[in-house]
Amino acid sequence: MKKSIFEIIENRSIAKDVCLMRLTGDTSAITAPGQFVNIELEGFYLRRPISVCDWEYGVLTIIYKVVGKGTEKMSAMTAGEKLELLTGLGNGYDMTLSGERPLLVGGGAGVPPMYGLCRRLTAQGKRPTVILGFNTAADVFFAEEFKALGANVIVTTVDGGVGVKGFVTDAMKELEYSYFYSCGPEPMLKALYNASATEGQLSFEERMGCGFGACMGCTCKTKYGNKRICKDGPVLKKEEVVW
């Protein structure tokens, strides 16, 4: 975990109420896909926790949904502006369990962390299938980017405007996979938990205070005891989840 200043390189809308921001700064504390950063914004007391989409040496990419005044403010920022980030927060996904043909399932704001995970898994020679779930065609983003990684990509939309009509679980039925990784709204995670044929990992969201394990604000119960979503999570193994 590190606290440091990042500078915005680019910040642009990529779908309805969804923006991509690239920043330059010290990414050395980021150790696994599925971790998040916590961003200080002037005029807001709490930081904004945003999942890491991808990172490399000195460059961080995040994709965030504009849901309130904080993210609205972020969406208006421009290249050259600076932000203070806590980086390397959370456990992230354990890639050692993926098997050869992992399934990656991202829903809405849960799509971004799948990208960094997918890139690393394909680099290891795995052959991931990616299901990206959205509400409508206007919400879809990053399908082409996943394809460019060489992954097998399935897009679902609730209204059927693009890709498979329905939920991510509707696209899973015929698939074969060795393991699953997922991130998305809780109803999606729960449906996936029930529909999945293998073990896997689920990334949860909760309202956070600090983002680094101090305040116990985001604690949830698991089969392995109380866990802080921000520190012991956000990724939980399927076997430990208590609904």
Binding site: M1, F44, Y45, L46, G209, C210, A214, C215, K231
Partner: protein, 302 residues
């Protein structure tokens, strides 16, 4: 330039103490900085038995602050003394303040006696002011008579200094502080959080699982200054001031109001390095305001 202060007979290298509930059991903060720079640590509020705390959500944002309704999640006094404090002691050699909550006089007495007998505990802070639990907690702190009763009972089983932590959600905090002093308290600490609430406009229901929560952060600082000032007029025992402290200047302001030491709460959650930075900035702030000895400024505004 002296930053040392004496709190109830215990010397602190500086008056800055992370507040209970915002610093866990301390040792995890070593990932951010060397916590041996701290004046002391007030560890997570502890009850006799393990508690999960309140249902989610437990956190809401507020202008210049946040609401929490964690509800005293903790592993229970025996686990704290057996595992958490030894873990902290491995990386930290300054004073430790145990923070004890309860739901009955008997529970306070039992937990305090255990803390008092533990070699890792230097001072005992007795929280009679948690707004987020539904029996006990704050209710003991809203009446002078019950504050007196808990204080007396706890003091009867403790050899170490006992500090009673007070709620600001009262008409007359000075009278409650006085009751604690009359009951033999070695100090008082204030303010705990202001009882507050947010409503989610989308669901049109209270945002916190617990309905209400405690407001902390810079928003409450001017209320803390006022209450520390009033309590200083009413009692002779030392005061630990807290409530929204975020800078070395805030530390000085609360000490001028009457505090001997100062706890830093919400600021730790916004910035994990808050206490380290406040301590590092203290000498510069002292110089700016012509202060050479921090231990001499307590109550200076009176």
């Amino acid at each position: 330039m002296n930053t040392k202060v004496n709190l109830c007979g215990v010397e602190l290298q500086n008056p800055v103490i992370p507040a209970s509930g915002t610093f866990g059991f301390g040792y995890e903060f070593t990932q951010w900085y060397d916590i041996n720079c701290l004046g002391a640590i007030s560890v997570k509020g502890t009850t006799e038995k393990e508690r999960f705390g309140n249902i989610q959500p437990r956190i809401a944002e507020a202008p210049s602050g946040l609401l929490n309704a964690v509800g005293l999640q903790n592993p229970g006094i025996e686990a704290v003394l057996a595992h958490e404090l030894p873990e902290l002691r491995k990386v930290y050699s300054q004073p430790i303040i145990a923070n004890i909550s309860g739901f009955s006089k008997e529970e306070y007495v039992k937990s305090c006696a255990l803390a008092d007998a533990d070699e890792n505990v230097d001072l005992i802070e007795v929280n009679i002011s948690c707004p987020n639990v539904h029996a006990g907690g704050m209710s003991f702190g809203t009446e002078a008579s019950s504050a007196l009763e808990i204080t007396k009972a706890v003091k009867a089983v403790c050899k170490k200094p006992v500090i009673i932590k007070l709620t600001p959600n009262v008409t007359d905090i000075a009278s409650i502080a006085k009751a604690c002093e009359d009951g033999g308290a070695d100090g008082v600490s204030l303010i705990n959080t202001l009882l507050a609430m947010r409503i989610d406009l989308k669901t049109k229901k209270p945002l916190l699982g617990n309905v209400t929560g405690g407001l902390s952060g810079p928003a409450v600082f001017p209320v803390a200054v006022r209450m520390v000032y009033q309590v200083y007029n009413a009692v002779k025992i030392p005061i630990i001031g807290m409530g929204g402290v975020s800078s070395a200047e805030d530390v000085i302001e609360l000490m001028l109001a009457g505090a001997t030491a100062v706890q830093v709460g919400a600021a730790n959650l916004k910035d994990p390095c808050a206490c380290r930075d406040i301590i590092a900035n203290l000498p510069k702030a002292m110089e700016k305001y012509n202060i050479t000895d921090l231990s001499k400024i307590t109550g200076g505004a009176h």
